[in-house]
Symmetry: C2
Subunit: 500 residues, 2 copies
């Protein structure tokens, strides 16, 4: 039995290696690759993806899983071995339901859709993008049909990113968020002049930004022996093993977005870095869901990186690094400015408080796409109406509206909600950490983050994918998802800054 | 028939993708990877190598090759299609002769041998390395036994790097080199003080070196849209497609080795970049042999990059970049110093003229290793004796003697000769180019290299692996390998510099 298990692990290790090789190809594409390499890179990525999928969904894996059922049942369910068999059985069963041809069609449509989207967005031309969107949505509906959802069609899509969470559950969380956020944003809007948004104008020379960024994330846990920091137009984090973490950021001459992007990506990196090394080269060796991954990036970016104790420690250094830009700015003005709340058009530039409304808008529209309750030609109009309703602003063109995100162009539906679920969970996890480490904020003032990092590793990171996302959240935060701590956190922060 | 051909190409394209992905993993390992990624990287490389080998040597490929025999015979033999079938049949037949288990043993022994070598070299401890060397040599002998060589055992090893060239042919070329070089080096030795070796002492700030290097190789053909220049401790070039070429160099504060290393690697890069795009994603899409590859790197490094016309153009720029180091140096002194001939211990630091003697020494010892005519314990002694005989110098320790190269530690035997074959062929190709482009050297003085590059592309690069190395050399140089032009070139250059 042990031999069958080792055989399974050997097989899965190859799949893992192919997957991590693909991640390196993708990292290189976004950080290093000259443009002339694009066509060959797309082919290589397609080949690695196809081989990994073929090997994972093979009959051989199914037979091993069958043979291993008694072994699995003989083990404690929280053992690495039982968890591996359980998770692989779930993944394998799910992956087998999608015909190879449909999977290939989805990948192809995603690729051509993204090309078309780039041009359509540049020209703000939604009709040019429409046929590609139609194709993506049609394929996603066929994908949904491969499964037998207990509830709504959208559940199937959500499950790919936040396993086990239903549309109804997300709807309930988002209803509370809407209910809490709309009046908060309205109240802030009436006192908008309480924060001077103009204190951060630069210049911020990129080489000095890099030094500042490294100075901060080294304190979070970035080490030269296991991490790299590079530049990418759209910052991201990835890992090729727990010992090889790559984070990226981007440097603008006139803003400090690089610092927050780097803290965010470092949060993702710490999660991947903290997975138990015993899980290496297995499918358990990664964060458990997009939502929980995002909880870590948001925690380090916002709960840590936009807090007063944090800047009490780092603002003096920041001012020394950028005397031209920050010589006349004090810590309080800086803190207020990086926590300014202001409805805006672009999701990726939104502040902590308004961000979720961007996500809720997309979540609502995505359900309509999947259920076919909206004519796709009417999508810009629906988008603009919701933007007006939730954020109070007019969308001047589709480039800054319905065409702003790449997700739908690549056929990615069901992903958006995880951004806000992550924010919500980040505060639950934060509260739990604070209960365990009462002097957390004093530690930040001293530039110490090891206690927080190790607590997160112990209660969350090390588990990888051993447990379901819900089980994992319960382990780290002590209960199911709950939007109230998040709302309370936002209310308290905005209340203090805006004097509500 | 056409369908079987497309099927073969599709299959080979996947093998190509796996191979190029592995190249990226290796490039990243040498230029970017944090040390913590090493273990996972070794596993990933092993998996990609195994999968590529399995897919290439599959029965499916053999059956397609059989079915394609009439198609191949119906095509002109220099067509892309016939060439592909012919080369793949040769590669496949050869690859099938080696049992998977022996191949795995060789790879494992190479990996552990290299680790042991690193330590043994650091401690200059040959006895510590001896068991690993014995294992590598034993496995290589078993490898040789998989084939039925027409001539000597060493032919089998040579064929892996310089297909179709026999040990006897190399021996004949090297005999002429020895005959020509030994008296030349002796004559130079008597006039050693004709060149001041101390003019290049630096300081040469690395950032300015990088600018100088880019200024030069951009003129050779490096373009930002298809190339990258990075730093590696052991400079190398690689490519992921003809549109994605990576060259590396290293910067020393007190020497200009970076410039020559970069020109060398750029020569390799231009070869890969110049392969006909119609051959992409096939096994024909690369340089045809290590020797011909080296002919290109040596041509750009030495025939171009150590020539008077070249430095007439670039020395003024160099002096402007490094006023502290070169303010008091004139073009003639600089030219002489970068062409100094002086026997030395370390192959990779050797000058153009003495370099081949390092290679000949290794070639002679390698045959003894393979034939079992030397007790491996006596290898250091044999090494030191030949160094004294050919270069006139005493080897102070094994670190600077028999342990200096990584090749044998990795089980690589048969590779060394290609370095000198490349040098020999580089001058044959150079002479042919000069016959076609009479004003080549005037063009260099004007900083123009496009005519040379395009001539090389037309007559050599574009063919990739379509023809055998010997056929390829005949196409570009007009005949078989011939050491006389190389000897004449070295004699003329040293004669002028040393007043012989």
């Amino acid at each position: 039995m042990r031999r069958a298990f080792e055989e399974l692990k050997g097989h899965l290790a190859q799949v893992y290696d192919l997957g991590r090789a693909a991640r390196l190809l993708s990292w290189d594409q976004q950080t290093m690759m000259p443009s002339g390499g694009a066509a060959a890179r797309a082919e290589a990525l397609a080949t690695l993806g196809r081989l990994a999928h073929e090997r994972f969904t093979s009959n051989e894996v199914g037979e091993l899983l069958d043979r291993l059922r008694p072994y699995e049942e003989s083990l404690p369910s929280d053992s690495d071995e039982a968890s591996l068999i359980r998770v692989v059985r779930r993944d394998w069963t799910k992956a087998r339901k999608v015909p190879a041809e449909l999977r290939a069609d989805i990948i192809r449509a995603a690729s051509t859709g993204q090309q078309a989207w780039l041009q359509a967005r540049a020209a703000s031309d939604f009709p040019a993008f429409l046929p590609y969107l139609e194709r993506n949505v049609e394929l996603k509906r066929r994908y949904v049909e491969c499964f037998e959802p207990a509830g709504e069609a959208y559940d199937v899509l959500l499950d790919d990113y936040e396993e086990g969470t239903t549309t109804a559950e997300v709807r309930a969380v988002f209803a509370r968020l809407k209910e809490g956020l709309l009046p908060l944003i309205a109240a802030v809007g009436e006192r908008a002049d309480a924060v001077d948004g103009a204190v951060l104008r630069g210049p911020f020379p990129p080489d000095r930004q890099r030094e500042v960024v490294l100075g901060i994330i080294r304190r979070f846990g970035f080490e030269d022996s296991a991490w790299r920091l590079d530049v990418a137009p759209h910052p991201f984090a990835t890992s090729f093993s727990p010992g090889d973490i790559r984070v990226t950021t981007r440097y603008g001459e006139n803003d400090l977005g690089s610092v927050f992007a780097a803290m965010h990506e470092c949060g993702h990196g710490l999660y991947e870095h903290g997975v138990d090394r015993a899980l290496e080269r297995t499918p358990l060796c990664s964060g458990v869901s997009l939502g929980l991954h995002e909880s870590q990036s948001r925690l380090w970016e916002n709960l840590v990186g936009r807090s007063r104790p944090f800047w009490r420690r780092f603002f003096p250094e920041l001012r020394t690094a950028f005397p031209e830009a920050l010589g006349g700015v004090d810590e309080d003005a800086f803190y207020r400015s990086v926590n300014r709340v202001e409805p805006s058009l672009i999701r990726v530039e939104a502040d902590e408080t308004t961000y979720s409304l961007h996500v809720i808008l997309r979540f609502e529209l995505e359900q309509e796409l999947v259920n076919g309750t909206i004519d796709l030609r009417d999508l810009p109009e629906a988008w603009n109406a919701k933007t007006k309703e939730y954020l109070g602003i007019d969308v001047p063109d589709d480039a800054r509206g319905v065409l702003q995100d790449i997700h739908w162009a690549g056929g990615t539906l069901g992903y958006f909600p995880t951004y806000s679920l992550g924010s919500v969970m980040s505060v639950q996890i934060w509260e739990a950490a604070k209960r365990s480490i009462p002097d957390l904020e004093e530690q930040f003032e001293a530039g110490e983050f090891a206690a927080l990092r190790e607590w997160l590793r112990e209660h969350l990171h090390r588990h990888g994918r051993k447990f379901t996302p819900k089980e994992t959240l319960a382990r780290v935060a002590g209960g199911p998802i709950d939007p109230e701590p998040y709302l309370a956190y936002l209310r308290a922060k905005a209340g203090e800054i805006y004097g509500l």
